[in-house]
Symmetry: D3
Subunit: 132 residues, 6 copies
C-alpha cells in the first residue's frame, strides 16, 4: 500500500488527531504506528478500535501487560499476520520479553498448532472430564 493511504497527524481531522493524541499519551510515544494511520481513513473505526484496545490491554487487569502481548503474538502468528507479528513482537520486547521468552513462546505456538491439527485429524471426542 502506498503511503498516501496513511493519514499523517498534520493532515488529520480534529477527530482523528484527538485519537492519535490519546494513543501517544497513553503509550508515552511521540508517533503513532502505521496501523493507526491506516485506520484513520475511517474515523469511527479508528476511535472504536482504539477505545476497545485501550480497555482490553489496560495494565491493571487480571493478566499483566507482558502476558497480553504474548497472547497477541500467539494469535497473530496463528493468523499469519506479518504486520501484527512485527508490531506486537516490538511491543512485547518493550514490556519485558526476553530472548528466552521469545524462544519458548514460538515453541508453544508451534506445538499448539501441531497438536490442534492432530486432534482434528483424528477427530478426538471431547473427554467427559472437560465438560464440567
Amino acid at each position: 500500500m502506498s503511503s498516501k493511504h496513511l493519514i499523517e497527524y498534520e493532515h488529520a481531522s480534529p477527530e482523528v488527531r484527538a485519537v492519535f493524541e490519546d494513543i501517544m499519551a497513553t503509550r508515552r510515544v511521540d508517533q503513532v504506528n502505521n496501523f493507526w494511520k491506516a485506520l484513520a481513513r475511517h474515523p469511527e473505526t479508528l476511535r472504536r478500535t482504539w477505545e476497545s484496545l485501550k480497555e482490553v490491554m489496560a495494565p491493571d487487569g487480571a493478566l499483566d501487560p507482558l502476558t497480553k502481548e504474548l497472547l497477541y503474538i500467539a494469535v497473530s502468528v496463528t493468523n499469519n499476520c506479518g504486520y501484527c507479528v512485527a508490531s506486537h513482537t516490538a511491543a512485547a520486547r518493550k514490556a519485558g520479553m526476553t530472548e528466552a521468552m521469545l524462544g519458548e513462546l514460538m515453541a508453544v505456538i508451534g506445538m499448539a498448532n501441531e497438536t490442534n491439527r492432530l486432534a482434528v485429524g483424528y477427530r478426538v471426542p471431547v473427554d467427559a472430564a472437560f465438560e464440567e
Copy 2:
C-alpha cells in the same frame, strides 16, 4: 469418532503403555486424555508428540506453566479446535486460571483477531521502527 478408535491402556502395546505411564506420572493423573488414546494408533507419533510437548511445556522455563496454557488456548481458539479449547481450558484452570483471567484472555484473543484482519484488510506497511 467412535470409541473403538481410542486405544485404552489395557489394550495397548508395551511401547504405548510406557508413554501413557510417563504422561500419568508427569501430570500426576491416573488416566490419559482421549487425545493420547487417539495418537496411540500411531505409536511413533504418540511418543514423539509427548516428548516434544513435555519439553515445551516443562515447568522450569522462561515462561511459567499458566502463561503457556493461556497461549495454548489462544492458538486453539484462533484455529477453532473445539477439543483443544476444552482440554486446555481445563488445564489452565488447574494451573490457576481464574474466571477473571479467562474473561480477559477471551477479550485479548477477540481483539487480536479483529485487529489482525484490519491490518491485512488495509494492507498496512510495516513500520521501519519494527525492523530492528
Copy 3:
C-alpha cells in the same frame, strides 16, 4: 516469484489465449491480471477456474456485482491473502465501492472475526431457534 513464471499472451498457447481473450472481452479490459498469467501454467486449471468464476460472479444473479466483490474481500482478508485483497479491492472500487463502504466493510470483517473467536472460545451451544 519471478516474472518468468507468468505466461504472457504473446507466449501463450492457443488454448490459453482463448481464455485470456474471453477474460478481456467479459471484463472489457485489454490485459489480464497476473493471477491468470500464473494459472496459465496449467491450462486446465486456468480454463476451469475462469469458467467457474465467470458463472459465479455473473452480473445477473440474486446478488449484485458489488455485493459479490465485497464478499470476496471479506473472505480474502480473513484468509490473509495479500494478492486477493489488492485485486478485489480494486475490482470493488470499479464496481462502485466508496471509501465509506470500504470503511464499514473493514469494520464488519473485523467484528466478525472477533465475535467468531469469542463464540469458539466460550464454546457457545447453538440456540434451538437457529436449527429450523
Copy 4:
C-alpha cells in the same frame, strides 16, 4: 459447554441485565441468544462487544443490513465457526436473504476460498495496477 455457563436474565447482575435489555430493545426480540449469555460471564466484554457490534451493524450506514449479514456469514464460514454460521444465517434470513441469495453467497465464498489458495500457491506477484 453445559448450560450452567450461560447466564440467564433472571440470574444476571444489574449491569448484565442492562445490556441484555438494550439488545432485546434494539433487535425487537424478547430473548438474547446464547452468545450473549456466554459473554455475560465477563460483563466488561459483554458490554464492549455489544456496543461495538451495535455501532458496526447499525442500519443507517453506507452498507445495508442485509449486506452486512452476508459479509458476516462469509467471514464465519471461512473461519469455520459453526455457531456463527447458524446465528448469522438466521439473522440474514430475517434481513431478507432468499434461498437464491444463500445459494449465490455460498458459491462466492467457495470460489473466493479456492482462488485465494491458487494465488498463494502460485505466489502471484501483485499487479502494479492494484497499487494505486
Copy 5:
C-alpha cells in the same frame, strides 16, 4: 442442520437427479453423500462443483487418486472441517490408505502446521535459492 435441508433423490428435480446419477455412476455407489444432498439446494452450485471435482479428481492425471485423497485430508484438517475430514478419510481408505499411511499423514500435517507457524513467527526471509 436438520435433515429437511438435504435434498433426497426422490424429491429432487430432474436437473439435480442427473447430477446425482452421474456421481453414483462415476463413483460406483448407489447413494450420494450428504454433501451433495446439501448442495442440491442450489442446483447450479451442485452441477458446477461436481463437474469441477470430477475433473480435478480424475484418475488419469499426473497424481494418483490416493495421493489426491491424502492431499484433500491435509487441507481439510488444516481448515478444521470435520465433515471433510470424515468423508475424505473414508474415501482415502477406499483408495488404499493403510493405517500406517494415515499415521504418517497425520504426522506430516502436524509438523507442517508447526513449522509454518515457526516460519511466520520468526519472520524468516525467503532464501534466494528458492526464487528460481
Copy 6:
C-alpha cells in the same frame, strides 16, 4: 526481518553447529536454509524441530518422500505461509515433482478449500457411513 536475526554457521555455538551439520549431511547440501538459521536463535527449538522433522520426513516410511513434500505444500498453501510454499515447492521439485504434478496439486488444494467451505456453510451433517 533483517539478516542479523539469522545465525550463520560461523557465528553459531557448538550445539547449533552440530544440528546444522546433521541437516547438511542428511540432505546432502552444503548450506542450511534461512528457516534453520532463524530457529537457531533458540537452540532447543532448533534441535527438537530438526529431530522431529527428520523422523517425520524420513524416506523409509509408508508414504514416499515426494508425497510428503506435496502434503507439506498443501498445508503451507492453506495456511498461507509464503516462506513455506517457496521452500517446499523447491524441495518437491528436487524430489521429482513435475510441472504437471504441480498443476494438479494446486487444483486439488483449490478444490478442497472450496468444498471445505461449502460443507461448513451448509452445515452438512456427517453421513452415518463415515462413522465406522
